[in-house]
Chain length 136, copies 2
Amino acid sequence: MPRYELHPIGWVESPLVDRASAPRQGDEGAPEAWLVFDPDMRGGIRHLEVGTEIIVLTWLDRARRDVLVVHPRGDPDHPRRGVFSTRSADRPNPIGLHTVRIVEIDGTRIRVRNLEAMNRTPIVDIKPVLGPVEER
Amino acid sequence: MPRYELHPIGWVESPLVDRASAPRQGDEGAPEAWLVFDPDMRGGIRHLEVGTEIIVLTWLDRARRDVLVVHPRGDPDHPRRGVFSTRSADRPNPIGLHTVRIVEIDGTRIRVRNLEAMNRTPIVDIKPVLGPVEER
């Protein structure tokens, strides 16, 4: 079986330090946070702009990878479901997917709104939100 | 520097075999394709349903990882941009992000519409598209 190696491009700096108290999604009361990029990534983050929405992909390094079935939102009253029909952090490849808005850029540090990832979470990719086909 | 290991959960079966002729995004004329899951993932894909939209994360194994600046859409007439403000496949961690609709389920094979990933691309995660907060 092939394996692929992720190399973090940066890390999250956030007031969230405890999984139990973190919001489940960014639009459920998540705080502002800094995306702190490796200085080697400077060329890649050029052209990111304050005010725009971006998609942040993280590696949820505190998740369990041996789980295929969960109670959605960690609520035992919710019937168990296969992880791929949930947003559980626990899953075979715990990649976090976060849509956030840029509020400040300071060199290789980018401040964003509504990020539910915890402090020190590795960042593995950033993508723009796609607009309509004719504007690409 | 920490490294993280991705384990494919399945593979794409698609008529697309050539990067040069593949559409740039799923909504730009991409064909139907099968997501073929490892039989061990059966528990995780339960509850995926025909007619729903899902987010497929892939590992773009034919991409270049040493590129930080590209001409968007591969067009030399477009000024070069940092890769994190483009959807280029070439990037430090070439994770593909695809929103597709399920059209058929056959055991551990799931047929989807509008997938621009090429044949044999590894699948690393599946997530539901999130609805409004009050319906989660």
